[in-house]
């Protein structure tokens, strides 16, 4: 109400008009300054992280990292899908060790079988000789 009254007055309305215009101009310049600062901050961040260089060196890795960042931002971190992916990853990471172990066991078994058969054949020939 007080604004309306002040605007309705003759002298006040003319004084309020330029003030609003100044305010709008000030807001515009502030917004422009904000955008300039934000752009500079993004540019500085990009230069500091050396995103372009990292993408040039390791393109697939950076895309995977960006996927992971998006996944976490989307709230998918503490979900059953993450647990399942972790389980699959651990199993895949353990695969080479398990393969080496199995190969060692198989080689030992084959060697044991070969030595046992060699002993058996030699004892068989000895018994046949006796």
């Amino acid at each position: 109400m007080s604004n309306y009254e002040s605007m309705s007055g003759n002298g006040h309305a003319e004084a309020q008009g330029p003030r609003v215009g100044e305010r709008v101009d000030q807001l515009g310049s502030s917004a422009q300054q904000f955008f300039t600062d934000a752009r500079g901050a993004v540019h500085d961040l990009g230069a500091g992280l050396d995103l372009k260089g990292r993408v040039q060196r390791n393109p697939y890795g950076m895309v995977a990292a960006a996927l992971g960042v998006g996944y976490v931002l989307g709230g998918g971190l503490f979900t059953p899908l993450t647990a399942r992916m972790l389980r699959v990853g651990v199993r895949l990471a353990m695969l080479p060790f398990v393969k080496d172990e199995l190969m060692g066991m198989a080689e030992a078994a084959v060697q044991g079988f070969a030595s046992a058969s060699g002993q058996g054949s030699s004892s068989g020939s000895e018994s046949s000789a006796v």
Partner: protein, 66 residues
């Protein structure tokens, strides 16, 4: 209908001779695709990273909804 080992071996060789060029072609195609993808990512890093973040965000949203 007897198939002796020689016939079996010949058939295996024939199959190998037919399959090997196709496999080599597929490997060449995959290699070309890989090169093109790497070149695209290197040429448009911002687009690719933002797209990857967006895709990850969507997958994370879908995973958290379940």
């Amino acid at each position: 209908m007897e198939t002796n080992p020689q016939q079996f071996q010949d058939k295996a060789r024939e199959l190998q001779a037919r399959m090997v060029p196709q496999l080599e072609e597929a490997a060449q195609n995959l290699s070309d695709l890989n090169t093109r993808a790497i070149n695209f990512i290197r040429a448009n890093p911002g687009t690719c990273l933002l797209g990857a973040v967006a895709v990850g965000f969507l997958v994370g949203k879908l995973a958290s909804r379940r």
